[in-house]
């Protein structure tokens, strides 16, 4: 316990109740409602599914649903491709930026623009620039002969395009926090390493990387969860199409709920997605506390 924390039990609650009531209304009650819906048959377009209790049927259906499975597969593809590229590129740019104060001062605010603007705007940037008839990137690619008619409407190119837009949007986030992280590292280990005659590469591998580990860990967590949540940009650019090639889990869950109005099954899908993100979060906090305990 920190010194100076007033110990009188329950005293703090008079400060907390407005926040607690609000959290109960907007987080707890909806969460319970979601669980209740997930074990019922509710479909606004089907009168026979009017709220009967169906036990775990929805869950069974979800785990055997090939569309859900394939949406997870697409999501995994996005995560597995985008994440390493964003990490490597982010670290590379951050290393270059830490070495030049002037560059950092003037270019970092420009570099972070894709990350701070609304994902909706990013989606528009994607769809207009990638338009093969009049978009900046689309026309260029067409001239180079890499694209024939369309990019976002092409079955083979749509998902890679989504991944590239995500890399464009989120690498700046990693650049920003890696730069901040690199600048906050202690100087003594570097001085010691150079006195010992280590090369720049050795210093990078043996000093920088280990010191950056906690920052890598938080970056990995935040980036993983944001990728897991990916929705807005895809919704604006392709709405899951063409066909369903960019229909990742969240888009699929959206379609089941708000296009087919199958809220019972939809709530189940959403609960499953929630559980996955919760488990990842839990594992992360466990790892982080274990690391702290070791120190």
């Amino acid at each position: 316990m920190q010194t100076g924390v007033r110990k009188a039990p329950y005293k703090g609650y008079q400060w907390l109740w407005p926040a607690l009531i609000l959290i109960a209304v907007i987080e707890l009650i909806p969460f319970i409602v979601m669980l209740v819906y997930s074990v019922r048959a509710i479909n606004f377009l089907d009168i026979s599914a009017s709220g009967q209790f169906v036990g775990l049927d929805n869950y069974r259906q979800a785990l055997n649903d090939p569309e859900f499975g394939s949406s997870i597969a697409k999501l995994s593809k996005v995560i597995v491709t985008a994440l390493p590229i964003q990490f490597a590129l982010g670290l590379l740019v951050a290393l270059a930026l830490t070495a030049h104060q002037t560059l950092r001062k003037y270019l970092l605010p420009i570099i972070i623009i894709p990350m701070i603007i609304s994902p909706v705007v990013v989606g528009l940037i994607g769809s207009l620039n990638l338009n093969a008839d009049f978009g900046l990137i689309g026309i260029t690619l067409k001239k180079l002969g890499l694209v024939e008619k369309t990019i976002l409407g092409d079955y083979n190119l749509a998902l890679p395009a989504i991944i590239i837009i995500d890399i464009w949007q989120w690498t700046p986030f990693l650049i920003l926090i890696f730069t901040a992280g690199l600048l906050s590292l202690p100087k003594e280990p570097y001085e010691a390493a150079y006195v010992d005659g280590a090369s720049t590469w050795q210093v990078f591998v043996r000093v920088t990387l280990p010191l950056m580990q906690p920052i890598f860990l938080i970056a990995l967590l935040l980036r993983f969860t944001d990728l897991f949540k990916i929705f807005d940009t895809i919704f604006i650019m392709t709405e899951g199409g063409p066909g369903s090639v960019t229909e990742v889990s969240n888009i699929f869950a959206y379609r089941v709920n708000f296009r087919f109005w199958n809220l019972g099954y939809g709530a189940t899908l959403v609960t499953l997605l929630y559980i996955v993100s919760f488990l990842v979060c839990f594992a992360f906090v466990k790892i982080a506390t274990m690391r702290e305990a070791r120190r």
């Binding site: 100076g4 924390v5 110990k7 400060w15 907390l16 926040a19 607690l20 609000l22 959290i23 907007i26 909806p30 979601m34 819906y37 270059a96 070495a99 560059l103 270019l107 605010p109 420009i110 570099i111 623009i113 894709p114 701070i116 603007i117 609304s118 909706v120 705007v121 940037i125 009049f134 990137i137 026309i139 464009w168 920003l176 926090i177 901040a180 992280g181 690199l182 600048l183 906050s184 100087k187 570097y190 720049t200 920052i215 935040l222 969860t225 897991f228 949540k229 929705f231 919704f235 969240n250 869950a253 709530a267 959403v270 609960t271 929630y274 993100s277 919760f278 979060c281 992360f284 906090v285």
Partner: protein, 284 residues
């Protein structure tokens, strides 16, 4: 890292590496900026210029897209809704969150250790997993399509963020200040209101700006819960893609109105941005 540069630059022949590095950073900045700039410029282009197959950065600028969207179209109303939702979210989260953060910083409260976990789960949950149950609850409370409804929805992720960030900031204020104020005869609430809040003015403002940015940029909640009556700017984007064609000019004008305020706000709180975006894990 500073150490690395100083060391490496004393060596001869390393200058080409420096040139390479600078070129690389400029290239990245170029790639980050040009697609964005293209949209901002398109907002001032007439339809034929936007859809022209020859790329040109030179064109005769027009405000017609803004007039179409904001004066003749409904985007003026959406801009107003966005502002109300953003300001409302900030006020709601600061009024409830700041005292809560103070309690977490100063008192022994149950669940204090789990605060970080709670914040993480609210940040991590897929938006659809929050939006669906809120949709069901709001439907029964007649909050669908109302600005308070969208504000409450945005509070699901901004409130936890405000509590957590403000707790960290209150932790940095020495407890001796509270104790001195209590000795002087202030009650605990008076200490909070007249001593602690004035010192933390700037951090409260930065946290508020950050919450505003999150609310202003948000799409799915606004789309589902705002309906047509409380539609915010981002939620209005899909409406401009119609079966008859896409209103690119108006979309770009709307994008301009969504992006520029955020870029200005983010510049104002640049130092604070890293801390805010990483839940205090990385100091800016």
């Amino acid at each position: 890292m500073v150490a690395i540069t100083e060391q490496s630059e004393t060596k001869a022949g390393i200058n080409y590496l420096k040139v390479l590095r600078i070129t690389f950073v400029f290239f990245i900045a170029f790639v980050s900026f040009i697609p964005f700039l293209w949209i901002m410029l398109s907002a001032f282009k007439v339809r034929t210029d936007i859809m022209s197959p020859t790329l040109s950065f030179f064109f005769s600028p027009t405000l017609s897209n803004f007039v179409d969207a904001f004066v003749e179209g409904d985007f003026g109303i959406y801009l107003w809704n966005s502002t109300m939702v953003g300001v409302g979210t900030v006020i709601l989260c600061l009024v409830t969150g700041v005292p809560a953060a103070y309690a977490f910083s100063r008192f022994y409260v149950l669940g204090k250790k789990h605060l970080y976990f709670f914040v993480l789960t609210t940040r991590m949950a897929p938006a659809i997993a929050v939006a669906l149950p809120l949709y069901i609850v709001f439907k029964n409370l007649y909050l669908l399509g109302s600005i308070p409804g969208v504000i409450l929805a945005h509070a699901t992720f901004t409130l936890a963020l405000v509590i957590y960030l403000m707790k960290g900031l209150f932790d940095e204020i020495p407890r001796e200040i509270d104790q001195a104020s209590l000795v002087d005869g202030y009650s605990e609430w008076q200490t909070f209101l007249y001593v602690i809040l004035p010192i933390s003015r700037s951090s409260i403002a930065a946290t508020g700006f950050l919450a505003f940015i999150f609310s202003w940029n948000e799409f799915l909640f606004a789309l589902l819960l705002g309906g047509t009556d409380a539609r915010t700017l981002p939620a209005a984007f899909p409406g401009l893609v119609t079966p008859l064609g896409t209103y690119w000019g108006q979309l770009c004008a709307a994008a301009f109105a969504v992006a520029i305020p955020v870029i200005i706000l983010a510049t104002l709180i640049q130092k604070y941005l890293v801390k805010g975006l990483t839940l205090g894990a990385v100091k800016g």
